[in-house]
């Protein structure tokens, strides 16, 4: 029988997504683990962040802002770990075979990212419900259209960012350390912890972070509290996403080039 081979990106993307979904649904222990862990982590994060100003637990606006902060923490966390998963692809010898099929690393990471997105959906909803039930946060979204637009932009941005990140950490001896540190640094740089909570001078520094325009606008659209004009934020977030698109292509190409030269997969 004659088989047809077409180098369609869409075929590769659907192969990666299909694989990611299959593996995710087969890891039932992980799903149960997430269902049990998430409410506890949410309570832990809430109370840890508010430790120095426990009186704010009675302020519904602060509690609602923190709820979205935790949602965004879960959001970014999933993509960072998806990026980190490249290490498993290298260790299991899958990456060599992926290169041999002429598939880009960004597409390959989609398989893991789809798992991340399901995680965001499940854990994110649990986080929102826990915050609402335990701490009394408001679940309504202030500007739904802007919220969903900024969510889509953020998904695309972090998909691309995950592949750039993967290219950077792939050669490290203990990449999980960097991922863990980044998971605690990013919420500060990205406005996941609402910058309205900070003093003005701190907030003025955070708005120089590109991540703020990607993640912070989701929180702002949800709560309706803006520090920067919403349309300016939207515009800047689109610009940064386009830049990230080119960065991911450059990083993936450089990575493969370096891999072919040195025999080990690394960018730095």
């Amino acid at each position: 029988m004659e088989y047809k081979f077409k180098n369609f990106i869409i075929t590769k993307i659907s192969a990666e997504l299909g694989k990611g979904l299959k593996i995710y649904t087969r890891n039932k222990v992980w799903i149960i683990s997430d269902l049990i862990s998430t409410p506890f982590w949410v309570i832990f994060l809430f109370l840890t962040l508010i430790f120095y100003a426990q009186y704010l637990l009675n302020n519904i606006n602060v509690v609602t802002s923190l709820m979205w902060g935790i949602f965004l923490f879960i959001f970014m966390n999933s993509f960072m770990w998806a990026g980190n998963s490249i290490v498993q692809s290298v260790e299991s010898g899958i990456i060599d075979n992926i290169i041999l099929t002429n598939t880009s690393l960004t597409i390959h990471l989609l398989g893991r990212n789809i798992t991340g997105m399901i995680d965001i959906l499940i854990s994110g909803v649990i986080a929102l419900l826990t915050s609402s039930y335990i701490f009394g946060a408001t679940l309504s979204i202030s500007e739904p259209i802007l919220f969903f637009i900024s969510l889509i932009i953020a998904v695309i941005f972090y998909l691309l960012f995950a592949s750039v990140y993967a290219s950077l950490i792939i050669s490290l001896r203990s990449p999980w350390i960097v991922t863990n540190v980044m998971n605690f640094v990013l919420p500060f740089l990205s406005g996941a912890i609402p910058i309205q909570l900070f003093q003005k001078n701190v907030a003025d520094i955070i708005i120089y972070s590109p991540f703020y325009y990607i993640t912070g606008q989701i929180a702002s659209a949800a709560t309706g509290v803006y520090y920067v004009d919403p349309y300016l934020m939207l515009l800047i977030s689109i610009v940064f996403t386009v830049i990230m698109f080119f960065m991911s292509r450059i990083a993936a190409n450089k990575l493969i080039q370096k891999f072919r030269k040195e025999g080990k997969i690394s960018l730095i």
Partner: protein, 261 residues
């Protein structure tokens, strides 16, 4: 007989310690992480309050995060040991060798306990000097002794995690909920008095809360010797852990040959 088992324990301990010491990144991160998180929340506190909060509060969280780090390292290592043993079929060799598997699990936990002790020594020393100067150093060294005793019941919980990994297969998925529950309920990053009643009870029934409480109270000088009365109760975890692990080992690994599946 006991001498032979001590020798086996020391041999495994030596190999595992060498292994850990060669993972410089992991050791460095374990020390750096509690400092990083406590400074992060301290800066959030500073940002919210508009002025730096008291250093005693920072120290409270630093000690809590350090103990959290130690418990995560300890519980994850036991789970990983079982999983890798199953996948690599190393457990088959171990069961066929004249070594009691509990000795192995205990020495693995002990290795991570020693690593944890090192983490606590380094991070705690920095925290005490920054917060209290040199005046509370003697208290700090006494707290190290109590920490060692308080960590022993945690071995029992690690054995339960190892037993669960025999069935669940995924070490991180098994140890994650334990870490989440421990972190939330044990008063590591905030006082458990602010928790809902049921979570408070969970926290008070586990050894982690007491480890943090003993250490903080000794360093800060409000330790009450009567509080040690909880320790015998906590050692029940150790017995419970041994029994459960043995049950799973005999009924699943040996009877059903669950290796690597």
């Amino acid at each position: 007989m006991v001498r032979k088992e001590i020798n086996q324990l020391l041999a495994i301990l030596e190999v595992e310690l060498k292994n850990i010491l060669r993972e410089r990144g992991t050791v460095g991160f374990s020390i750096f992480f509690p400092i990083l998180i406590s400074l992060s929340t301290y800066s959030v506190g500073t940002g919210i309050l508009g002025k730096p909060p008291s250093l005693e509060l920072w120290f409270y969280q630093l000690i809590g995060f350090t103990i959290l780090m130690i418990t995560i390292v300890m519980s994850a290592s036991s789970a990983w040991y079982i999983r890798q043993g199953l996948l690599s079929r190393r457990l088959e060799y171990i069961f066929s060798a004249p070594v009691n598997p509990i000795i192995i699990i205990a020495s693995i936990s002990l290795t991570s306990g020693i690593l944890g002790f090192g983490i606590f020594l380094t991070v705690g020393l920095i925290g005490v000097i920054v917060t209290y100067g040199l005046s509370n150093l003697s208290n700090f060294f006494i707290s190290l002794l109590i920490l060692i005793i308080a960590l022993i019941p945690i071995l029992g919980i690690n054995l339960i995690i190892a037993a669960a990994t025999i069935i669940g297969k995924e070490p991180e998925a098994i140890s994650q909920p334990v870490s989440a529950i421990v972190s939330t309920t044990s008063g590591l990053a905030y006082p458990i008095t602010i928790l809902p009643f049921i979570l408070k009870i969970i926290g008070e029934s586990m050894p982690y809360y007491y480890a943090a409480y003993y250490v903080r109270s000794i360093i800060e000088g409000y330790f009450n010797i009567l509080s040690l009365g909880n320790l015998p109760f906590l050692f029940l975890y150790l017995i419970f852990g041994f029994v459960i692990y043995r049950y799973f080992e005999n009924n699943y690994i040996r009877k059903e040959g669950a290796y690597g599946i």
